[in-house]
């Protein structure tokens, strides 16, 4: 199993930092949108596009590419910023987020930007579509992997569990569900709004392989995801424990940042903090 070299690790952490800066800039330009989730999933997206996934930004329709579905479409800024930073489109395009005529719709639309793989936003639907893609791959003997990024709160949707049951029935070991376990949703803590714990045990009882890690620790997440992908005979879930708003001090851990963007002053502070974090990564060597 490939282990990250110090150089790989540094490069991925720098990418995550770039992604966070892109998120802040695009949300500020948009004047609306979600901040906490995109920031806390930046490390996961850097890992997926930077090392885990088989993909080629110059061939977005490559049939053998891994499929990445963002089920919780409201954190689209992290996907857009990741795609821009990995060469799918110019980084400047991030400033069109949520604007009329943009490919970067408020919630992801595959028809306007095919490499999104699915249209999402209505919660609880991504794993179900990913299950279909993974089953299709099995039917045709294709070996691409399907990654589905979900929020924790969308585990309150019934359809998600229909998908969990179905993926287990068909032993879809080419399917990995990643949970952004940040414990927040619009109305407050997930455990107050509708308790999800014990979340991992729920998946175990559905015959899934359950892995857990710090979703903001690049090394830990990459190693966990590689272990997940190697599992045979059953689908896997990674409970990625994250800090909402990760990387911007005044947002971290505050659920009120779920669904709003930073204003101009807050944007400057956030970008300054991220620039300093970047310098620390570079200085570490």
């Amino acid at each position: 199993m490939p282990t990250l070299t110090p150089d790989n690790l540094r490069d991925l952490e720098l990418k995550a930092n770039d992604i966070r800066q892109g998120i802040i800039r695009s949300l500020h330009a948009a004047g609306s949108g979600h901040s906490a989730g995109p920031l806390d999933m930046s490390d996961v997206f850097a890992a997926l596009y930077g090392t885990l996934m088989r993909h080629d930004p110059n061939r977005p329709d490559w049939p053998e590419r891994d499929r990445l579905l963002l089920s919780c479409g409201h954190i689209a800024p992290v996907r857009y910023s990741a795609m821009a930073n990995f060469g799918y489109f110019p980084v400047e395009e991030l400033l069109t987020l949520r604007k009329f005529g943009s490919r970067l719709q408020g919630h992801p639309e595959r028809v306007t930007l095919p490499s999104l793989e699915s249209t999402s936003g209505p919660l609880g639907e991504g794993l179900a579509q990913g299950t279909g893609m993974a089953l299709g791959a099995k039917m045709d003997g294709q070996d691409f992997h399907v990654w589905v990024v979900t929020s924790d709160a969308e585990h309150q949707c019934g359809l998600h569990w229909e998908a969990v049951m179905t993926a287990a029935k068909f032993k879809l070991d080419n399917l990995t569900c990643i949970i952004d376990r940040n414990f927040i949703q619009i109305d407050g803590s997930t455990e107050d709004v509708m308790p999800l714990e014990p979340l991992g045990d729920k998946y175990r009882s559905f015959n899934w392989e359950v892995l857990e890690c710090d979703g903001n620790d690049m090394q830990a997440f990459v190693e966990t995801a590689e272990r997940a992908r190697a599992v045979k005979g059953r689908p896997q879930v990674i409970v990625a424990n994250t800090v909402p708003g990760k990387g911007v001090s005044y947002m971290e851990g505050d659920y009120t940042w779920h669904g709003k963007p930073p204003n101009t002053e807050q944007t400057e502070i956030a970008l300054k903090e991220l620039a300093q974090a970047r310098e620390r990564i570079v200085a570490r060597g």
């Binding site: 579509q129 039917m139 179905t166």
Partner: protein, 324 residues
């Protein structure tokens, strides 16, 4: 004009869902990417034969209609052509948001067969009688909506829709219904058919009530000397606007006939076209803002105002409303 229908010398009685079952088997033979996904209703939706003929192309997911649509969307995204089936009340009834987002907005090549539509489901009662499905499907952009008139046409529609790209809804009935078309009767998605010529009133019908419309036309010819044009308007979306405008222009009055709520169904679409392009008086045959109930299928068709005599009365009424 060659006869497209043969119904006067007694007709065979076959449920439209049987035609779907036959068409699906043949579609799966023609193209191995055609797959069938079923939500625990393989016998009622006539998936049994497909399951036997093409086991590797068949998927069973249990009682999970939202999953049915969402998973089919995923399969379509990797090149499959999924036909998914449940009762129309549950798919698209229960799964409507997934149909809108994953099939239509995301433009995936998923085909829904909605079985047990209409009050003619019979004894199962109102919970299982979909009479709002045309309305909720025709309002979705990019959706194709087809309501064939008999089992022979349903088979042709199934084959045609399997080969035609795009999100699709095919409406099926449970009960045996008259077979009025023949193997030779053509079928093209989006092209309405004139089953009987007449210049006094146009009856624009879809589904199994096309037969009642033909019978009503014969009765009106005998008793009133009113000659009706019968339009088999099998494609509710995209509707054949030229055929509807021609019916309005040539006959000057229209009766629409469908086994569905009068509100927002096929007849409402006809009225939208006629109001804009060629206004003429219209009467609507359908369920009048009520739910169904248990009963014998034919008894329910009569009770809810969709029998032959109800159509006859509607034609007489609309004929009187024609401007002098």
């Amino acid at each position: 004009m060659a006869n497209l229908v043969d119904y006067r010398k007694g007709v065979a009685q076959v449920p439209t869902r049987n035609g779907f079952g036959e068409g699906l088997v043949e579609s799966g033979t023609r193209n191995p990417n055609v797959i069938g996904i079923c939500a625990d209703l393989s016998e009622s939706t006539r998936f049994e034969a497909f399951k036997k003929a093409h086991p590797a192309q068949y998927v069973e997911i249990g009682v999970a209609e939202q999953m049915l649509v969402a998973m089919a969307g995923g399969l379509a995204s990797v090149g499959k052509i999924p036909w998914i089936a449940s009762y129309a009340m549950f798919n698209p009834g229960r799964s409507w948001e997934q149909v809108r987002t994953i099939m239509a907005l995301n433009d995936t090549n998923v085909k829904i067969a909605g079985a047990h539509a209409g009050v003619s489901v019979g004894p199962d009662g109102a919970t299982h009688q979909a009479i709002e499905d045309i309305a909720i499907m025709r309002v979705i952009p990019h959706m194709t909506v087809v309501v064939p008139c008999d089992s022979v046409q349903t088979k042709k529609a199934t084959l045609a829709l399997s080969e035609r790209w795009g999100p699709t809804y095919l409406r099926l009935g449970r009960e045996k219904s008259p077979v009025i078309t023949t193997e030779e009767t053509p079928f093209t998605v989006g092209e309405a058919q004139i089953f009987r010529e007449g210049g006094d009133v146009a009856i624009v019908a879809c589904g199994i009530l096309v037969y009642n419309s033909l019978m009503a036309a014969d009765k009106l010819s005998r008793e009133d000397g009113i000659e009706c044009r019968i339009v088999n308007n099998h494609t509710v979306k995209p509707m054949d606007e030229a055929a509807i405008v021609a019916a309005a222009r040539d006959c000057g009055a229209i009766v629409t006939v469908e086994e569905h709520q009068k509100h927002a169904g096929m007849g409402s679409r006809v009225a939208e076209i006629v109001a804009q392009k060629y206004p003429v008086p219209i009467e609507f045959i359908g369920v009048d803002d009520r739910f169904g109930q248990s009963g014998d299928p034919l008894e329910l068709i009569e009770y809810y105002g969709m029998g032959i005599d109800a159509i006859v009365d509607a034609v007489r009424k609309v004929a009187k409303r024609k401007p002098a």
